[in-house]
């Protein structure tokens, strides 16, 4: 049983390392112009942690845990909504210039 957990952990670690390399390669090519919207975007993407809150929420009927996870869902959802909206607003401004050329 313990062995199984360890194996899963190792595979997950591998995924983490590979994803980090992928991220570094992708981000390195992002134009300097776009670093601010990039930050807003990756922030919204990492708010996919909302699914962690949802999973823990579904597994519990304990009031305390429900309260914490509800707050977590609200916080993550705030980030998702504001993050994508701001990214869109910023990118539109850049886009406007390009269209006019």
């Amino acid at each position: 049983m313990n062995d199984l957990i360890q194996q899963d952990f190792v595979i997950n670690l591998l995924i983490f390392v590979l994803a980090t390399f992928l991220g570094i390669e992708l981000i390195r090519h992002v134009s300097r112009l776009l670093h601010t919207p990039l930050m807003a975007l990756t922030n919204a993407i990492s708010s996919v942690s909302i699914i962690a809150a949802l999973i823990v929420m579904s597994e519990s009927s304990n009031g305390f845990i429900l309260a914490l996870t509800t707050i977590a869902v609200a916080l993550a959802f705030t980030n998702i909504v504001s993050g994508f909206m701001i990214t869109e607003r910023i990118l539109k401004m850049f886009r406007r210039r390009l269209d006019r050329k």
């Binding site: 957990i5 991220g23 981000i27 112009l33 776009l34 990039l38 708010s47 942690s49 990118l91």
Partner: protein
Amino acid sequence: MNQNIIQLLYIVSIFLFALSLKWMSEVHTSRRGNWSAIAGIIIAILATLSAFQINRLDLLIVAIVVGSMIGAPIGLKVPMTAVPQRTAVSHAFGSLAVGLVGVSEFFQKGISADPVTTAVLCGEMILGFLTFTGSIVAFAKLQEIIPGKPVVYRGRNIITISTLITSIVFAISLVLYPGLEIAFYLMIVLALIFGLLLVLGIGGADMPTVIAILNSYAGISAAALGFILDNRLLIVAGALDGSSGLILAMIMSQAMNRSFVNVLFGGVGARMAVVEQSQQDRVTQTYSSADAATVLLSAKNVIIVPGYGMAVAQAQHVVKELSDILLKRGCDVKFAIHPVAGRMPGHMNVLLAEANVAYDLLWEMDKVNPLFNETDVAVVIGANDVTNPAARTKPDSPLFGMPILNVDKAKTVVFIKRSFGPGFAGVDNELFYLPNTMMVLGDAKNVLSDIIAKLRNTGR
């Protein structure tokens, strides 16, 4: 829903996230990138909701409604000048969410968890909570609720680091003795205090790096949550965010020629009092905006150097107006963007884009620096430390070694500044005392409006 289908949907969502970052590399595909990420997150949420039955739908709906009601106004209304603050807030929200889920999971699994899981969980909570308080302080500094100057005192680094180490010690004891609840609380409290102390000691000018580092932490803690829940989507999304923050932090600290450690623990701005005093009696030449306009009238080529002062004065639109007038007069205009100008990576680019400045006029530091020699006028608008020649010439300056924009090489420097106060690094600017520098004191927006009016009156 079938577990395999969920996993497949998660893979689709991972693919969309990776694609989204790929598309973010260029302006013309960037909006597609944003929509691809939105699609990814919607798929992830729907797949999760169908796989895990939520019994308390009422709570879920409340959370979603509250989240939208806070998120939408932020997303729609925040002015571009306040984007760094909003980024700090979003790091605070994201890391608090991750921290709270960690706490819930700890109480859920309790002592039944295996040591590896507990260790990861502790790491995740420490990272989440320190990022939370760190981001709150960053927000307070950027919003100028608290002074942007670093809070430095004797033994600051030792105190700061020992809170972190103690927090980790409690985490280790929690792994060894899972029943030890007091260790759990102390670990969290100390992580909260560490975040607070860490960012309090960092000055406003270092915020681009700090924000990038906090971004990275927020991502890594989300990935750690993925380890605990054995959720690979979370691991990948967190890793992408974590590596993005890391790269940005590296670019920022390279642009200042400093290491992360130096940014976090250097406390720049603390030992400057002595330097400032010795320069009290030096002569500066203050001019009016009319003088500045006269110089600009005869200029053939101009480089505009925007900095944080432009953001504070919300002067990006007048700056654009000035550049339009100069361009119309047949003058060659460039904008020189230092990587750490402003308070977050890419801050100046966004403000100038908002004001509709064509981005082929924006020049990066390496490319624009050789051109200052042949430039008639460099107009510096609230950019202080990134133009300070002391970075090249004075080995005892805290800025020494930092790559700067060589505005001092221009024939004339028009320096628009609110007051003679030093920059956020607390360092006096050598540029003020050069014979070719014209200091124009005042709010950037007012000064520029005056200059524009004078240029207009003089006709063409």
